[in-house]
């Protein structure tokens, strides 16, 4: 292992293992996970529910320490959460006691008032919440709340985003719109994104690479490169081929 990773490398996970101990019995959730994520890459982590995707994402974001192994970001071992890397939950993560503006400005307490207001205005516009600056989350739709949470994360200029099934609670039409929006934002902001999902189509539509996880104790079975330029034609032969490949990888049948 070289001590100075290539400047193209954003994150490395080395031999990550995670064992949860509770009431005497232990659950082996992650086993020997090795992963390298490039700077500015969009990586999807795909796997069945309960396999340990959230656990892996939480170790990367610094909310959990792995039982074994080490995560490094920009060559530095991760010791805890950091405002340079923001974790986005499902839309329930927005603060219901703050307005849209208050939520977006939440992480900007170190900036001057003028700078803060300018940032808020910029991100309100980027996620299309103009006219709702003074609204509270309870007055917004699910999709708007999700955009608000993404805006709150982006406002602090993070160089990484961790998204844990962010669109899982949305209806299928809103979900499609949100994917398009996320890609647009990613192209504008150039962050490194690690996106957890259990939806194969979502992964193939969004990612540069898809890390397919096995059942518990989870390892990374395969990394699939999605070599289709955006905007992606989800009827194209290559798309279907990649999608089928992942279906097979997960051991799923092609017929319902």
């Amino acid at each position: 292992m070289s001590l100075s990773p290539s400047p193209e490398t954003k994150l490395t996970a080395e031999r990550i293992g995670m064992v949860f101990k509770r009431d005497g019995n232990s659950t082996n959730v992650l086993r020997d996970i090795n992963l390298t994520v490039g700077r500015g890459e969009f990586l999807c982590v795909l796997g069945p529910s309960g396999c340990g995707k959230s656990t892996l994402l939480n170790t990367m974001a610094g909310f959990l320490s792995p039982t074994s192994g080490e995560i490094r970001i920009d060559g530095e071992a991760v010791r805890g959460p950091d405002p340079r890397r923001i974790f986005v939950f499902q839309e329930r993560g927005v603060f219901p006691w703050l307005t849209v503006e208050g939520n977006i400005g939440f992480g900007l307490f170190k900036l001057s008032r003028a700078e803060r207001e300018q940032r808020i205005a910029h991100y309100v516009q980027l996620v299309g919440l103009e006219g709702f600056q003074k609204a509270y989350p309870a007055e917004l739709s699910g999709g708007m709340k999700q955009r608000l949470e993404v805006a709150r994360a982006l406002a602090v200029n993070p160089d990484m985003l961790f998204l844990d099934e962010p669109f899982g609670a949305l209806d299928s039409i809103t979900r499609l719109t949100m994917r398009r929006e996320l890609l647009r934002i990613w192209e504008a902001e150039k962050n490194t994104i690690i996106f957890v999902t259990h939806d194969i189509d979502e992964a193939v539509q969004l990612a540069d690479r898809v890390a397919v996880m096995s059942d518990r104790p989870a390892t990374i079975q395969q990394i699939v490169e999605i070599d289709i330029a955006h905007p992606r034609d989800i009827g194209s032969a290559r798309y279907l081929e990649l999608r089928h490949g992942i279906f097979d990888q997960l051991g799923l049948a092609h017929k319902v």
């Binding site: 909310f63 950091d82 890397r85 974790f87 329930r92 219901p96 006691w97 939440f106 509270y136």
Partner: protein, 260 residues
Amino acid sequence: MNSLVEPRKWEKFFWPVLACVLFLALWHYLVIWSATKVFPSPLAVEKGIAELARKSLLWRYIGDSLRRVALGYGAAVVLGIPVGLTLGWYPAANQVVNPVFQMLRPISPIAWIPVSIILFGVGDTTAVFLIFLCAFFPIVVACVDGVSGVPAMYRQAGRNFGLSPVQLLSKVVFPAALPQIIIGLRIALGIAWLVVVAAEMIAVDSGLGYLVIDARNSGKRYDLVVAAMLMIGIIGLALDLLFRRLRNIRSVRWGFRHGT
């Protein structure tokens, strides 16, 4: 427009007023019908209130009761909220004091009267202390529950944005627990208003509670007893209505989705 569920504006006032009128009428006729010599009719009570107002006792007694509640309840809020937030924040500390709290809590404030008279003598301080005691515990418990009920996700998001522990408490945990705390404050105020009347019956010689006992002891003036009871009820209701308005503040309204 003509929703069956949403009452129209005039209906909001009409039905309560009608219920009050019916109640007074029922009371009036029951007094006549039973030919009681003791229980006063609504008109007698109204005269009693007018008499109290003329002797300028009414406002003085109401003022005294409200002042005692303000002091005792105010102290309970000022001490109870920080104590409750701290205990909620450090579950270990809560486990230490919780057994003591749980044991003290079911002791009626009335049972504290002899002890507080020994401590503070007969007078205002005793009444204020009793109100403080009865309001303190519900406020602390509401804060502890509120803080421990804050979703882990909110704290996690706060930490992610680089908040210090103090900022996390003031910017995330407190606002997230506030609806719960407001419920506790409202319950505590209701109890405080019950207790001030009891305390005034024993420990002091002014206030609405004193009026109840004094009117009975000096000349069996039941018109004044019921007048005092009526004032206690109306003021209690007014305090509660005032408190309910807090729920309309926009930054806490999210916590009160259901119910009245």
